[in-house]
């Protein structure tokens, strides 16, 4: 296990847990610490009579602790990982105690049971009926949405800064009622749009058209091929079942975790993980949804490489995926990305040509250098072609510090030439920007 402190702290559910976790990384509090290939454990003296037993599944990054905390991972989980990161010499025991073995065995058993449950047949008739009812609701929601879009187009968008947020917040709720969660998310973006930003009209019309294309395609779903209609359904909110995804053939690769971002949407946390298949060159987006006090099922650490099989949702250009199976986590060595800007943009444009639903993508580009003109920052490729980047403040300073003005490989997130660096790979080290 080669996690950095930053990577470990990124697992904490909130800032308070980060702070308490750091406080727990105190050798005087821990006893019977140890590590083997699959797990790490220790006993932490808390306020109670018996020490808390804390254990970490290193392969799938999961935690268990006998403390009463409802946070996952608790401060002890974070603490024991931090302690390992700081003082490995304290973790000399390699034979896991019975309580660790028992938990690890149970986890394996649970995974097997889960698989059995998947194999169980479902009541197809009842399912079809439910589906039919849902379709009705969605159709009615879409009709309402279409009417509103037409109204906006007819009257012009000038008054959107005043009317937009309230209008689209209500419409988001309506889409949730219509069981069109995907559309609700797309409408929510209109509600949360920054109408005070220069050229907000561009972003607004972009998003409005994305919605329009989606609902128009949905109306014509019968005429679309399997992947196209699958993507449309996903965009509307008919999420492809996990069981189905797990059964389809996946892409086995060493997946480089390019970055991670968590945003809160009301009570729900949405975690985006961007991955790059080192051998396949395939990009993937793994989304995880969880509520406060829950732990996402997977903890992917940016900068690490995971041996895994990814199963992609149906789409014209497969991008969103789930992780079917994971193996060990390894440190990255050589990562190959786009050779220059032309290659990157060619790839991007091809995606746009294939699918109108592709929006923001991750890109990994090799051998770029920082350039600056009139306080605007650019990345120059090997051919000395410059492309502006969206980067300032702390991000820019970190980028400058880790690169030193020299060549580096970078992970960028963006579209149509508006790219934001989120990671830098230099001298076999990956830095989150």
């Amino acid at each position: 296990m080669n996690f950095t402190e930053d990577q470990i702290l990124a697992l904490a559910p909130d800032d308070a847990s980060k702070k308490s976790g750091k406080e727990q990384a105190n050798p005087s509090k821990w006893s019977n610490t140890g590590i083997d290939e699959k797990s790490l454990w220790g006993e932490c003296q808390g306020s109670g009579k018996n020490p808390y037993r804390t254990q970490v599944d290193l392969a799938n990054i999961a935690f268990k602790c006998s403390c009463p905390s409802r946070k996952f991972p608790c401060k002890h989980g974070i603490g024991v990982l931090l302690l390992y990161c700081r003082e490995r010499t304290l973790f000399t025991t390699k034979d896991s105690p019975a309580w660790v073995k028992e938990w690890m065995d149970k986890r394996e058993e649970k995974a097997e049971k889960k698989q059995e449950k998947i194999d169980k047949p479902v009541d197809a008739e009842a399912q079809a009926k439910r589906q039919q009812q849902r379709l009705k609701k969605i159709d009615s929601g879409i009709e309402e949405l279409q009417l509103l879009i037409n109204d906006i187009v007819r009257n012009g968008i000038l008054n959107m800064p005043e009317k937009g947020p309230a209008l689209f917040t209500n419409l988001t709720k309506r889409m949730v009622d219509a069981q069109a969660q995907g559309l609700a998310g797309m409408v929510r973006e209109l509600a949360e749009m920054n109408y005070f930003k220069e050229n907000w009209q561009n972003s607004f019309i972009d998003q409005l058209l994305r919605i329009y294309i989606t609902i128009t395609a949905f109306k014509n779903k019968g005429a679309l091929n399997d992947n196209f209609s699958g993507e449309i359904k996903n965009l509307i909110g008919f999420t492809q079942s996990l069981e189905e995804l797990k059964q389809q053939e996946g892409v086995k690769d060493n997946w480089f975790v390019l970055g991670k971002e968590t945003v809160q949407q009301e009570q729900l946390f949405v975690q985006r993980n961007w991955l790059l298949g080192i051998n396949s060159g395939q990009y993937a987006l793994v989304l995880q949804f969880y509520v406060r006090s829950q732990l996402p099922e997977l903890n992917l650490i940016p900068g690490s490489v995971v041996e895994a099989e990814l199963s992609f949702y149906k789409a014209i250009c497969p991008y969103r995926a789930i992780i079917k199976n994971t193996g060990k986590t390894i440190s990255p060595k050589e990562i190959s990305g786009f050779e220059n800007w032309n290659a990157l943009m060619k790839f991007e444009k091809e995606k746009y040509i294939q699918s109108p639903f592709i929006f923001e993508l991750p890109f990994f580009i090799n051998a770029v250098s920082l350039a600056c003109l009139e306080n605007k920052w650019f990345l120059n490729d090997v051919n000395n072609i410059s492309v502006p980047i969206v980067c300032d403040g702390n991000k820019l300073h970190t980028l400058l510090a880790v690169s030193g003005g020299k060549n580096f490989s970078a992970t960028l997130i963006g579209c149509e030439g508006a790219y934001e660096p989120i990671g830098v790979f230099i001298n076999n080290n990956y830095f989150i920007i």
Binding site: V153, K349, C372
Partner: protein
């Protein structure tokens, strides 16, 4: 030819009720497709949305943002020093995460002493710390290597005045920047700093004058006398008070000379025989039959004693003694510091002047007198503590802590580790008052604690059960901080 997307935005702003997409202004290659998608509907909004969707995809599929050769930034020079170990990196990460400035100071000190530098990704964070903590700036700069120097060019907040001269900051800076520049200038070149102040003196406001004048205390010397004497004529009482205070700190100033000439004859040694003349006994003879010159009142010499410990004349003399450099007594009485103080201490009526002698030893920074005054008479001359041994400094600090005074100004220099004996004595005191001496108290001074305290800290007993539970939490925190310190020591 208008860009297709601009036409979409223009139409959407106005609304299809008033405007339709004008396909004539667009590239001809688009026209047939745009006309095609209009078919099958008369609805103007639907037509717009269809055509806009085509142009949306057209725009995305053909975007081009690259431009030719924006100049690359000059890369950073190769590092001369080596990066610290990964273990040291981990301890730095911990220290920064805890925002523990004391341990950060210790880490930087170890890094600098071992001629190592921090890995580059720490540079922005450390420079932000330097921005907020002036005391750490020099040390942080030393630990950032070539890249640290290089990166400051990209953030004006990180230049820390290094490229500006004292004069530039003094001429154009804000009030506190000007004062700080003058302080540094006085340290480097006292005459130049004073001359600069004199050159702008008339243009400054009274409050600024007082503030800037006080900086002359640094490296105060006889060349400053003329300027300070002139400042005595200012209208502002505050300015006059500061000028007077500074003149009274100069052993050769006309004020000190006048006071000395007046006071010298009032104190003499009287020899008297004892045991039938076998022993010569020396005592101080104080002549209190004097009238002070009127102008002494303008020097701040008063005759009213608020504490009523002195008679009117004694009180006046006490103040005069407080202004006289101790070395003048040595010459006048032909005795050393120890003997003079012993003579003063012999009689009740002269003993009361010892605090004023301590005051003058403090004013004129006389370490010899300072040590005797502390050791024999428990009088602390703060300005000379820096010349004391570490043991004596710790002794004073503990005594002062008893009186709830700020001890840090008197303790050994910032980089010094305090003795285990002192820290244990300190903890014995502070642990009894865990509410007053909370975690933050230790967080600010932990780098002074020797790591060996880790094994001793459990010996500290707090009897009050409420306080004990609070202290237990604090002591855990101290142990954690000491573990990090231990980790830092081991990692370099």
């Amino acid at each position: 030819m208008i860009k297709p997307w601009e036409e979409i935005i223009n139409t959407s702003i106005i609304g299809t009720d008033k405007k339709q997409i004008n396909t004539q202004v667009l590239h001809p290659s688009l026209n047939s497709l745009l006309e095609e998608v209009k078919k099958g509907t008369d609805d103007k909004e639907e037509q717009f949305l269809r055509q806009a969707s085509i142009i949306y995809n057209y725009r995305r599929a053909g975007f081009n943002i690259s431009c030719n050769a924006v100049p690359l930034i000059e890369p950073c020079a190769e590092e001369i020093l080596k990066y610290c170990s990964s273990q040291a990196e981990a301890s730095l990460q911990t220290t920064l995460g805890d925002e523990n400035l004391s341990l950060l100071y210790f880490w930087l000190l170890q890094c600098s002493k071992n001629n190592k530098i921090t890995p580059p990704h720490f540079i922005p964070t450390l420079l932000e710390f330097a921005e907020k903590n002036k005391d750490l700036r020099i040390l942080i700069s030393t630990c950032l290597g070539e890249r640290g120097k290089w990166i400051t060019a990209f953030n004006p907040n990180w230049k820390f005045g290094a490229t500006l001269s004292y004069k530039e900051v003094f001429d154009h800076g804000k009030a506190d920047e000007r004062k700080n520049a003058l302080i540094q200038w006085r340290k480097d070149s006292p005459a130049e700093a004073r001359e600069t102040l004199a050159s702008v003196w008339k243009e400054e406001q009274a409050a600024t004058k007082a503030d800037l004048l006080s900086t002359l205390e640094i490296n105060l010397n006889e060349d400053d006398e003329a300027f300070l004497t002139e400042a005595l004529k200012e209208k502002s009482q505050k300015v006059k008070d500061i000028a007077l205070k500074l003149l009274k700190q100069m052993p050769d100033s006309f004020i000190v000379k006048e006071i000395w000439e007046f006071t010298k004859p009032l104190v003499s040694i009287k020899k008297s025989g004892a045991l039938l003349g076998l022993i010569n006994k020396e005592v101080l003879n104080i002549n209190l039959a004097f009238e002070i010159p009127e102008k002494f009142k303008s020097y701040g010499i008063s005759h009213i004693d608020a504490s009523k410990n002195f008679t009117e004349k004694e009180f006046t003399l006490d103040q005069l003694i407080g202004v006289i450099p101790p070395t003048l007594w040595e010459k006048h009485l032909n005795l050393n510091a120890y003997q003079i103080l012993e003579l003063f201490n012999k009689k009740e009526e002269t003993k009361k002047f010892i605090p004023s002698l301590a005051m003058s030893a403090n004013t004129f920074k006389n370490p010899e007198w300072g040590i005797i005054l502390y050791k024999e008479y428990k009088q602390v001359c703060y300005s000379v503590i820096e010349f004391f041994s570490q043991e004596l400094k710790e002794d004073i600090a503990l005594a002062l802590l008893q009186e709830s005074k700020n001890i840090y100004a008197f303790l050994p220099k910032k980089e010094t580790e305090w003795s285990q004996k002192f820290v244990m004595a300190l903890l014995q005191k502070t642990s009894q008052e865990p509410y007053a001496f909370s975690k933050n108290y230790y967080k600010n001074i932990i780098h002074h604690f020797p790591v060996s305290i880790l094994e001793k800290i459990d010996q500290i007993q707090v009897n009050d059960p409420l306080k004990k539970s609070y202290w237990d939490t604090i002591s855990e925190e101290i142990k954690k901080m000491l573990s990090i310190k231990k980790q830092i020591v081991q990692s370099f």
